[in-house]
């Protein structure tokens, strides 16, 4: 697998991306590559720009400079001449190629579990109602919720809602799945069922970029870990290396020390 990843150009290629909200620089020249089939985890203290970076990848946020490419195609801006935002139609088409799962689930409250998954399949992928339903049921089965197809989000637990959220994203067959602190809003006893789904997607070869505070999961599931601090990438490496106590990065060491202190 590691050989293949050297031969393939990066599926996601983030190059020197910077972004400021007013006078606050949230991203400082961030560069990051994700190869096909790779699971990359971003960790770091809150306010370090992790979520913003993730939201730039599917252009829920714009960025001020640098470049983000998925499969060679520039995200958000036109490739010809001056930096110009793509049309809304173009943006929508590009976003359909990336899946996103949110911290607060963000299911559509008026649609059932199946309806949530079917909306994109019908409106964006142009599937018929019956086709979309079949695909929705398949993915609900994958996340262990086949029996909840016709339940509304309000009738589901947080863990179940998040699993529907994951099914909604992967049913679109995205090139890359973005996971934004997807277990942070869950009660501790519901975290496991959600991570289990993510693990099984990783085993299927789904390319993923995720932000998480679940260090044990990050260690077990990711190919690489990116440590962000103050809007920049502070360290990158295999989990064993990054999470080792003696890694040569003062900030990372103090982050992990504080993290361990608060979690054990």
């Amino acid at each position: 697998m590691s050989n293949a990843s050297h031969q393939n150009p990066a599926l996601l290629d983030v190059t020197e991306v910077s972004k400021a909200f007013g006078s606050v620089e949230v991203l400082r020249s961030v560069s990051l590559q994700v190869t096909r089939g790779e699971v990359v985890t971003i960790i770091g203290p809150s306010g370090s720009g992790k979520t913003t970076l993730l939201r730039c990848v599917n252009f829920l946020e714009s960025y001020d400079s640098g470049s983000i490419r998925i499969d060679g195609k520039e995200v958000g801006y036109r490739e010809t001449g001056t930096r110009q935002r793509r049309s809304e139609r173009d943006l929508a088409a590009m976003r359909a190629e990336t899946g996103m799962v949110f911290q607060s689930f963000n299911l559509f409250p008026h649609l059932t579990a199946a309806g949530n998954i079917m909306l994109g399949l019908r409106k964006v992928r142009g599937k018929s109602n019956a086709e979309a339903r079949t695909i929705a049921e398949h993915w609900l089965g994958r996340v262990g919720l086949a029996h909840k197809a016709d339940s509304l989000p309000a009738e589901l637990s947080g863990g179940q809602q998040q699993r529907v959220g994951i099914a909604r994203a992967v049913a679109m067959e995205p090139k890359i799945l973005l996971l934004d602190e997807i277990t942070s809003a869950l009660d501790p006893e519901l975290v496991g069922e959600v991570l289990e789904v993510v693990r099984s997607l990783a085993e299927d070869g789904m390319t993923m970029l995720m932000v998480t505070h679940e260090m044990a999961f990050a260690r077990d599931a990711s190919s690489r870990i990116v440590f962000m601090a103050d809007g920049g990438v502070s360290a990158v490496g295999p989990p064993a290396e990054i999470l080792a106590a003696g890694f040569d990065n003062e900030r990372l060491r103090s982050f992990l020390a504080r993290f361990r202190a608060s979690h054990f």
């Binding site: 599917n58 829920l60 809304e88 139609r89 929508a92 088409a93 590009m94 976003r95 359909a96 190629e97 990336t98 899946g99 996103m100 949110f102 607060s104 689930f105 963000n106 299911l107 559509f108 409250p109 008026h110 909306l119 994109g120 409106k123 964006v124 509304l152 309000a154 909604r168 994203a169 679109m172």
Partner: protein, 221 residues
Amino acid sequence: MGYTLNFNLIWRHFDKLWGGLLLSLELAVISIAIGIVIGLVLAVWYVSAGRAVRTIIAGYVEFIRNVPLILLVYLVFYGLPTVVDIAYSAQTSFIATLSLYSGAYLVEVFRSGLEAVPRGQLDAGKAIGLTPWQRLLDVRLPTMLRITLPALSNTFISLFKDTSVASVISVPELTYGAQWINFNTFRIVEVYLVVTAMYLLTGYTLLFALRLVERRFKAAR
């Protein structure tokens, strides 16, 4: 004081009241329908537009909300035809006025509903690749409707009662019917008792129906 209630004269002219009630309902339904279109279009425009458009829409809303309806009715029925070359019946004039009036109130209801749709839902719509138009129709409007339903019910009831203002320009709706009977029979207490009961009953029936709709949607929240 030898006033004894006598409803006989009221029943004799009851067709005036019954026909009036039907006309009141007709005025309300048509005006509210037009008002909903005005309200939806302007509210959607407002939340996506720049400053200039927002100022104009806000100006319309504030103007209507700060001028008494009866004055607007006079302005449109007596004032407008003297300024521009236009002719219309009292009924048409009133429907136009109440439509503009309800539109202004409904813009506010819809606008606050649209702004109350959680951002995360719009993000989710974007993330699966919906276009702005699809996000509006399939995500924002359905949620907005659920949020605004209680406020909508109140506005509808209120607008139904406002149709009584049409009596000042002789549109033969329910209140006008009551006045006609009063002038012709002098049974002032009886006629207004009956008419009050009719407004009350109709209002409650409308409210009941709207609450049923609300409950249905609430179940599906």
